[in-house]
């Protein structure tokens, strides 16, 4: 089996509100998959369907080869989940919650538990009600990471963590990937996804708008080029060149991924004095799908 998660055409409505409108998502076994989308785009709804907490109205969802709704408890032996808003029992200590969740998942690695508590700098004796948001998140992360599971489903796991802990989190996820675990990482912290994810899916209003490796996605979008040549006028009208601004012998423009080769050969003939080229950041990729960037307006 090569896919840990296979979702196609998923639909879910709450009354007249459409939460998922034909969402697709494929997560390959062993990869870290970034699941991107703005607030309210359907990330959490998708995850809740995958966990069998809610039932899809239509479409197909396969989790670890099983049916998320009917085989929920059986499938949950093989995964661990960290919710976006971790809510702990007010009267239980963090250590108790870690142990409880670990035991419910079928046991946890004591050495790893101790190591993680140390690395995340968590006081496990504090009661649930006294933890800050970040510390509640750490409790859920430690419980998830010290369980022996195939799949980690993380819903904005670093939302409350400070930069230091965020770095620790990244190291740990890299480690998880090397040890062969699959990770579904829902997030809108793009730098984090860019650093960790093998492939990403971008969703908007309950639908998948883009999916693939970062390289593939970059290929679909434009590179920014800032170049100084002897004469730039011939660039005007070239296929694939957009938003051209010529300022003497300096030119700035954006170029389609597919036309990049042709444009570069053309530039070489114009006598390049300096050239700066920037591949699109994930942020630009992301923005392109939400109408916030001018690039889409004339595309």
């Amino acid at each position: 089996m090569s896919n840990a998660i296979e979702v196609s055409g998923l639909h879910k409505s709450y009354g007249s509100t459409v939460a998922l409108d034909g969402l697709d998502l494929d997560v390959r076994t062993g990869e870290v998959h970034g699941f991107l989308g703005p607030n309210g785009s359907g990330k959490t709804t998708t995850i809740r369907i995958l966990l069998g907490l809610i039932r899809a109205d239509g479409g197909r969802a396969v989790l670890l080869g099983g049916d998320p709704w009917n085989d929920a408890a059986e499938l949950h032996r093989r995964l661990a989940y960290v919710p976006g808003d971790v809510s702990l029992w007010p009267s239980l200590s963090g250590g108790e919650v870690i142990d409880l969740l670990g035991r419910l998942r079928g046991g946890l690695d004591q050495k790893r538990r101790a190591d993680l508590i140390d690395r995340f700098d968590l006081d496990p004796t504090k009661k649930g009600r006294t933890y800050s948001k970040g510390n509640r998140q750490k409790v859920a992360l430690i419980a998830a990471l010290s369980s022996d599971v195939e799949l980690l489903i993380l819903d904005e796991p670093t939302a409350g963590l400070d930069p230091l802990m965020e770095a620790t989190f990244r190291e740990l996820i890299v480690h998880e990937r090397t040890s062969g675990r699959t990770v579904l990482l829902a997030s809108h912290i793009l730098a984090e996804v860019e650093a960790l994810a093998d492939r990403v899916s971008i969703i908007r209003e309950g639908r998948t708008v883009e999916s693939g490796t970062l390289t593939e996605l970059r290929h679909l979008t434009r590179t920014t080029v800032d170049v100084v040549v002897t004469s730039a006028t011939s660039l005007d009208g070239m296929p694939g060149v957009h938003d051209l601004v010529i300022d003497g012998n300096r030119a700035r423009f954006e170029v389609d991924g597919k036309a990049l080769g042709a444009v570069m050969s053309h530039l070489a003939g114009l006598g390049i004095e300096s050239l700066i080229s920037q591949p699109p950041t994930l942020e630009e990729l992301f923005m392109r799908h939400y109408g916030a960037s001018p690039v889409t307006q004339d595309a």
């Binding site: 419910l104 009661k127 006294t130």
Partner: protein
């Protein structure tokens, strides 16, 4: 006055949130007392009939114990006396719940923090909650007075009744305001407030039955104050000062506490817990046991204490019988003073059953609480299926109340046995008798689970159902409601043992009904979406 800045929008917020609840809570008491007065006028139309009824009530300390002393024989006096227990349910309890709902519950939900960051003075949220609930108490009291006037009762007595009801409402508000300051968890605050009201009821009961030196205990109880206002039988207006004084002291203490503690904190700091979980905390049942532990201890201790009082008072019933040759003669014919005492003990056990049912509702509602808090999501994302999760709490909502009721029966039996020097026989006898009150409590817990599974948003209507059944039991016979209506309440079907003969069939029926409701609820939960936290 800057600490009260922003109080107007806060008041409007409370009125908006409770736009249905507040009118219902204001009008319901008036309807109840009006209907009761009309029913009494029908049942006992003549002075002679009412005097006969009053004599019968006065010589029965069982009645005095559970309903309080009857002063006067007019329709107004009878109605007031019979509805004091209703006032505890419809004035004191709502006062407690409303004020905690708008103070501590808001704070725990994190909304108080959001409000506090806007232009809102330090005292404004508490003051807004107190103003609205005080206004509710006064309006509700005015409604009760109007209800009496509408049925043709004298003006002064009607007004005194209204004052007494409003007073008890204010007492509830004061207790709620105070306990809301003490604990971080609104559930604990409600529990303590309920315990204080139960204590008030018990103090009045002991004071009224034991008399003599202990008679003064009734004056320590706000419920006793209601009786002491004596509407339609002297109208002792000065007693109203006790309600006002109590409300003033408790709300002032609440305000003082609220300025001395941090947001989200109780008065006592949270102690650290263990760094690792004990072996028992490794399954849904282990978790449920842990989460229900505190409530179990609280309810069981409270019910057992009440059982001790009921059992301890038993023998004093006999002395009353001896003072009354007429009554003695009646009871001699049907089995002697033992039967008389048993009727009293049955009423006590019946009350224990009702408290047990309230505990069952609260414990079963924990399921909905766990779901809304997002804890259900956490548990259900592990290899725990819906049945095991919901079943673990349903189990606690069954075993807990059952054990609490049995503990109450055993406590009553031990107390009664010690006082009558017949421990070996009485303790097991009352323990077994109390078991008859368990099935009805199970039905209430099961009904709550059924609502949770099938109509999750209506889960807390379980409380409304419980109150309806309690009112049915209190006022149904007086209002002349037919047996069909009375049969809707599970408590109607419980045989009043040991005072009445044991009938097994209804108990089996109740148990089967509880099983069916549990199954329906669990099945419904297995099929529906889990709520988003």
């Amino acid at each position: 006055m800057s600490s009260f800045v922003g109080i107007r929008p806060l008041i409007r917020l409370i009125l908006r949130r409770d736009r249905f609840l507040l009118p219902i809570l204001t009008v319901l008491p008036a309807v109840m007392v009006g209907a009761t007065a009309a029913a009494f006028a029908d049942l006992y139309p003549t002075d002679q009939a009412r005097e006969q009824f009053a004599t019968l009530m006065a010589i029965n300390p069982g009645i005095t114990a559970f309903l309080g002393p009857l002063h006067g024989t007019s329709i107004g006096a009878l109605t007031f006396w019979r509805t004091v227990i209703v006032a505890v349910m419809l004035a004191a309890l709502p006062g407690v719940f409303l004020v905690i709902r708008h103070t501590r519950a808001e704070e725990q939900a994190g909304r108080r923090e959001l409000i506090g960051s806007t232009v809102v003075g330090r005292h404004a949220p508490l003051a807004a909650a107190l103003l609205v609930t005080t206004a509710w108490s006064i309006l509700m009291g005015a409604g009760v007075a109007a209800g009496f006037l509408a049925t043709g009762q004298p003006g002064a007595g009607s007004l005194a009744t209204g004052v007494a009801w409003a007073g008890l409402g204010l007492v509830g508000v004061g207790i709620g305001a105070l306990t809301a300051q003490l604990f971080e968890n609104p559930r604990t605050a409600r529990g303590l407030a309920g315990g204080i009201l139960a204590l008030a009821y018990v103090l009045r009961m002991v004071g009224d039955v034991a008399g003599g030196a202990l008679g003064g205990l009734s004056w320590l109880s706000p419920i006793g104050w209601m009786h002491e206002m004596r509407p339609f039988a002297g109208d002792r207006w000065l007693v109203a000062g006790l309600f006002i004084g109590f409300a003033a002291v408790t709300t002032a203490a609440a305000a003082a506490l609220s300025t001395r503690r941090d947001l989200d904190a109780g008065v006592w700091a949270t102690r650290p817990g263990p760094a690792t979980a004990r072996r028992g905390l490794s399954s849904p049942n282990g978790l449920a046991r842990r989460l229900h532990r505190g409530a179990f201890v609280g309810w069981t201790v409270g019910i057992a204490a009440y059982g001790v009082i009921v059992g301890g008072l038993g023998p004093s019933m006999a002395s009353v019988l001896e003072d009354n040759p007429q009554l003695m003669e009646i009871f001699d014919r049907i089995g002697g003073e033992g039967v008389f005492i048993d009727i009293f003990l049955s009423a006590g056990l019946g009350f224990i059953g009702l408290i047990g049912a309230a505990y069952a509702v609260q414990a079963a509602l924990r399921l909905r609480g766990e779901e809304l808090a997002g804890h259900a999501e956490t548990v259900l994302s592990t290899p725990v299926d819906r049945m095991r999760f919901a079943g673990s709490h349903a189990l606690m909502a069954s075993i807990g109340p059952a054990l609490a009721i049995l503990a109450g029966g055993l406590a009553a039996g031990i107390a009664y046995g010690v006082v009558t020097d017949d421990l070996a026989a009485q303790a097991p006898r009352l323990l077994v008798a109390s078991a008859a009150y368990v099935p009805a409590a199970l039905v209430m817990g099961a009904l709550t689970v059924a609502l949770f599974g099938l109509l999750p948003r209506a889960s807390s209507w379980a409380w409304a159902l419980l109150i309806t059944f309690l009112l049915l039991g209190q006022l149904g016979p007086i209002l002349g409601l037919g047996q069909t209506v009375m049969n809707l309440s599970p408590f109607t079907h419980t045989p009043a043992v040991p005072g009445a003969p044991l009938r097994v069939a209804p108990l089996v029926g109740l148990t089967v009904a509880a099983g069916g409701l549990f199954a329906a609820g669990l099945h419904g939960f297995r099929r529906r979406d889990a709520a988003i936290g």
